[in-house]
Symmetry: C2
Subunit: 334 residues, 2 copies
């Protein structure tokens, strides 16, 4: 259920995306004055003209909910986009991914060296901005989330093609890899907005649950999405041996013969299109995609319910946006 219609969320997202892009342009102009032209080009390419800007929007809405809305808020929002894009660029190098946000990945277009270095630049700039705008407390939360993200990636590597991975282990991975940074975005937004401890922890919890829901849907779209809409190749996770929730569910529900088929797919040549298609068909039959969607719905419902601390008239608009956003995450197709 959405508390306002989805077109108003879309127009809000567009407006925020425009503000954030403008702020990013201004910040890059300032921070990159006199820098190498290729570095400038790579960063503009990576940051502008794509992306859903979910994290910047969360930072802005959470700060506003706590009562602060000024010019610096867009810069805080940009810092989250910087870190997010840094991790996307490095992930794409690691995964040898050729496409991102509907265009060539930075590594594919500019080479690995440029990609690793541009990620490092964004890393440093994001920490600098967060530290400047939110002080020690913000830096603590942000750096803690960043190092946890690395831990999550290592955990994920550990479980490559690991058919004994449990749901609990999957959730441990996505908490670290995705949800904690989204949670930190909301919490730091609230901190910037001088929210009360209760408000900060409510928004941190909202971010965590929304982040988990977001990642489950992301993993679903990896199987079910349209490559043209998502800008990513379908079945990537499967090819790379990343066992996400639908596959973990399928393995646990499969009959012996179905399980053997799945194990053959996972331990066989995963790059053959037929291998992924066979596994996918079994996941459909076993209700694994439906199960994953239900799990995401549960997280999103809890995320929304936890916002009841914001019950004053002035919270109405922000609350509606966070509710819409969480709901949008469930129904997005990219």
């Amino acid at each position: 259920m959405t508390s306002s219609d989805s077109s108003s969320l879309t127009s809000f997202i567009k407006k925020i995306a425009g503000q954030v892009e403008e702020t990013i342009r201004a910040d890059l102009a300032l921070a990159l004055a006199g820098n190498d032209p290729l570095l400038v080009e790579v960063l503009h390419y990576a940051l502008l003209g794509g992306g859903k800007r979910v994290r910047p929007m969360l930072a802005i809405v959470c700060s506003r909910l706590c009562g602060r809305d000024d010019k610096e808020l867009a810069l805080l929002a940009a810092a989250f986009e910087y870190l997010h894009v840094a991790t996307l660029i490095h992930d794409d190098v690691i995964d040898h991914a050729e496409n991102r946000r509907g265009k060539e990945s930075v590594g594919k277009k500019f080479g690995m060296a440029a990609a690793i270095l541009a990620g490092d630049w964004l890393h440093a700039r994001s920490m600098h901005l967060i530290g400047s705008l939110t002080g020690q407390e913000g830096l603590d939360i942000f750096c803690g989330a960043t190092t946890a993200m690395v831990d999550g990636e290592f955990l994920q590597l550990r479980h490559i093609a690991d058919t004994s991975i449990t749901e609990q282990q999957y959730f441990a991975v996505i908490l670290r890899k995705t949800a904690r940074l989204i949670s930190s975005t909301c919490e730091i937004g609230a901190l910037f907005g001088k929210g009360s401890p209760k408000q900060k922890s409510a928004l941190a919890a909202y971010g965590k649950k929304t982040g988990i829901g977001f990642q489950i849907i992301d993993d679903l779209l990896d199987y079910l999405g349209d490559a043209k809409t998502t800008g990513k190749q379908t079945g990537n996770d499967f090819v790379e041996g990343k066992l996400t929730l639908p596959l973990i569910h399928a393995l646990s529900k499969a009959s012996d013969s179905e399980k053997n088929t799945l194990l053959e797919c996972i331990h066989g040549d995963r790059t053959l299109p037929g291998t992924c298609a066979t596994a996918r068909q079994l996941m459909v039959e076993l209700g694994s995609f439906a199960y994953a969607r239900q799990r995401a719905e549960k997280e999103i419902a809890q995320a929304i319910a936890g916002l009841s601390v914001f019950n004053k008239p002035e919270h109405k608009e922000g609350l509606a946006i966070l509710t819409d956003l969480a709901t949008y995450i469930l129904h997005r197709d990219q």
Copy 2:
């Protein structure tokens, strides 16, 4: 000229290295509690059991010179080693380097994914520590130096196999790539030590000049060093098309026929051992290695001269170490 004998510097370096290693171990234990065992292993491998610890030592000595020496100082010093090691790990991925500090590089031993991610972890942790220990001013200096380092790497990429590169452009690269971070190490050490503006700027200038001298010698050792001692393959820069000071000098001093030989070497198959050997022989004949050494000596002499602001009896010991260290940089063989 050294103001104390080199064995006392060696024992001082050893002592500091021991303290810093101990601090790194304790910080990793704290920051990595409950983290993926492979991440823990990679970070220990990357950080411990190797390295000259020049940056930690500089941070410590500069803080002490300004009058502060407490337990947190070793943690500040460790933060500089973290960032340094992060850049080494990422550089080695970019350069496909197989060896570092006399052992396999992180990328070679643990794979590219682990290397990129471990570098990101160290990046975040170093910024976190610098922000915590030195506040906004320290974070400004540190992040500025970090983003400048990326700019320096892009500048260097721009000049790959560029035989028209000038000395001035070479110095612009090494200032950003190396000297600014060493300068920031000294300046932040002074900031942590609550040094006066005059003391801070003297130490920043010392770091900058020492950093330039350090990089010139590093580039010399790339041609002249013993692979067993340096832990790096000789002639790497040449193979990668990085034109450093000796080669830039040789190109400017060569006769037409010598220049043609050099250009053939640079634009030919640089991976053949004979190609680098031919270029190297010409650089010997043209006095290019001697010239580069003189340039380094000049920087080091200026670095030492600029420390005259520290003229009180209590400065004597710290001053002697900075002088010895700058001199050591000229004569090191690794």
